[in-house]
């Protein structure tokens, strides 16, 4: 009866075939164990269709943006100077398209959206209604809409970058383009006071390395355990090979005495 270890060249006299093949089985076991443990790592790439709180906030924000900017656009068509009339019309059109997409996604993801603008937005609408046609209306319109678009733009960017939901990601791509266009059109009126806009909230201090890499304690522990496992496995494999050689060397002289050897 020949075993794998015979073929591998171990010509010592073994106690039994089972005993001989055991080191190899153990080595294979360790390798299989390491592979099995590494496999779940690839599962983290899988996408999810669950909707998070931040996804829901994005839908709400875009929905409410449309609910006050479409009426704003209509007002602009009546009360604005010629360029503001055109900008208002274009914004109304785009928000119509965005709102259709928002409501469809809200239904698909079963995440309800409001059907009224926020109190703050209603205040801005009242302000526009009170403004006299022409330059006064233009200024209120351009600055209120530009400031509001800036804040939605930041939310869209964050969701576009980090959402786990495929539909929300696609939606944020579309919304991002629309809002970018609107900011540019509003600025083209020449009415926007940039100094009145909130300063960018970007951290200028360097984050600690751990945070930069997004590592938390459990992840560090996983890496440590993996290191221990792979290191231990390698140590064990080497040890097995070494002991096999040792046993082979120990048994070889005996064979040499009886049968002679070339080595």
């Amino acid at each position: 009866m020949r075993s794998v270890s015979d073929l591998a060249g171990f010509d010592f006299e073994p106690p039994s075939a089972l005993e001989r093949s055991r080191p190899l089985v153990r080595i294979l076991f360790v390798v299989a164990l390491v592979l099995a443990l590494l496999a779940p790592g690839s599962a983290s790439l899988a996408q999810t269709n669950a909707i998070s709180d931040t996804d829901a906030i994005l839908l709400t924000k875009v929905r409410q943006a449309g609910l006050w900017e479409m009426p704003s656009g209509m007002m602009a068509m009546e009360k604005g100077s010629p360029i503001v009339q055109k900008v208002g019309f274009a914004i109304m059109m785009d928000h119509g398209r965005l709102d259709v997409a928002t409501r469809a996604l809200s239904q698909k993801l079963n995440s309800p959206v409001p059907d009224q603008p926020s109190e703050e937005q209603r205040g801005w609408l009242a302000e526009q209604m009170a403004a006299s046609p022409g330059p006064e209306f233009d200024r209120v319109f351009a600055n209120r809409l530009r400031a509001a678009h800036g804040s939605v733009f930041a939310v869209l960017a964050q969701l576009r970058a980090g959402t786990r939901n495929d539909d929300v990601r696609a939606f944020a791509t579309v919304g991002n383009q629309a809002v970018m266009r609107h900011m540019t059109m509003l600025e083209s009126t020449g009415m926007v006071d940039y100094t009145a806009l909130p300063a960018p909230a970007v951290s200028t201090t360097a984050a600690p390395t751990g945070i930069q890499l997004g590592l938390d304690t459990s992840q560090i522990a996983v890496v440590g355990a993996l290191f221990l496992l792979v290191g231990g496995g390698l140590f064990y494999v080497l040890r097995q090979i070494k002991s096999n050689r040792g046993r082979a060397r120990a048994s070889r002289p005996a064979t040499a005495r009886t049968g002679g050897s070339h080595g």
Partner: protein
């Protein structure tokens, strides 16, 4: 003498590491999964209706007021994702029908079809950003004066609910939004996204 078999030591190390690893990954999974537990409820506080005195004028579809003069006005508009689009004076999309003929101009949408796809009536408001020479009109079999663009009879879609809504696009594989030059718009938002961001 009790001799501990050599393989036992590294095997024990490996198993401990395995246990540790399983515990850690399981823990991490629960932590990240927790974020999705209560989706949808945030940010849903509705503003009080009675507080604002603002009456919101919202653009209305063809079914709300078919006799609104702005519904007979033709306007070229540029949308952020579909490019140039023909709309009415209130911003609602205008369509053409593949089973109509442009030369000579003839509508083949009558009866029930014409209640779902409402013919754009001739009016008095001047077109905006549309070549006046492309605009014409026909007398329908029911006697209504219907506007045409580049020979194509024009329609509103009763299923559209927002400005620039293109919900009628591709219906019956014959209805499409029409561009200010008379061509049908087959581009969809998905294709636009690929064009804008793909290779």
């Amino acid at each position: 003498m009790i001799r501990i078999p050599r393989p036992v030591v590294p095997a024990a190390v490996c198993l401990t590491a395995l246990a540790l690893l399983t515990a850690c990954t399981a823990g991490a999974a629960t932590t990240s999964g927790g974020g999705y537990a209560a989706g949808g409820a945030a940010g849903m506080q509705m503003p009080g209706m009675q507080q604002g005195q603002v009456v919101l004028p919202m653009p209305q579809g063809i079914t709300a007021d078919p006799n609104n003069p702005a519904k007979s006005q033709l306007r070229g508009a540029k949308t952020f994702d579909l490019g140039l689009l023909l709309v009415d004076g209130t911003g609602y999309t205008i369509y053409r029908y593949d089973r109509d003929t442009p030369n000579p101009s003839r509508s083949n949408c009558t009866g029930a079809c014409a209640t779902k796809w409402v013919p754009v009536k001739a009016g008095n408001l001047p077109p905006i950003d549309v070549d006046q020479s492309l605009i014409g009109q026909i007398t329908r079999d029911d006697g209504i004066q219907q506007l045409t663009l580049a020979g194509w009879p024009l329609y509103h879609f009763t299923g559209d609910t927002e400005p620039a809504d293109t919900s009628g696009q591709g219906l019956d594989q014959a209805w499409y939004p029409i561009a200010p030059d008379g061509k049908k718009i087959t581009l969809t938002q998905d294709e636009w996204r690929q064009n804008a961001f793909g290779l």
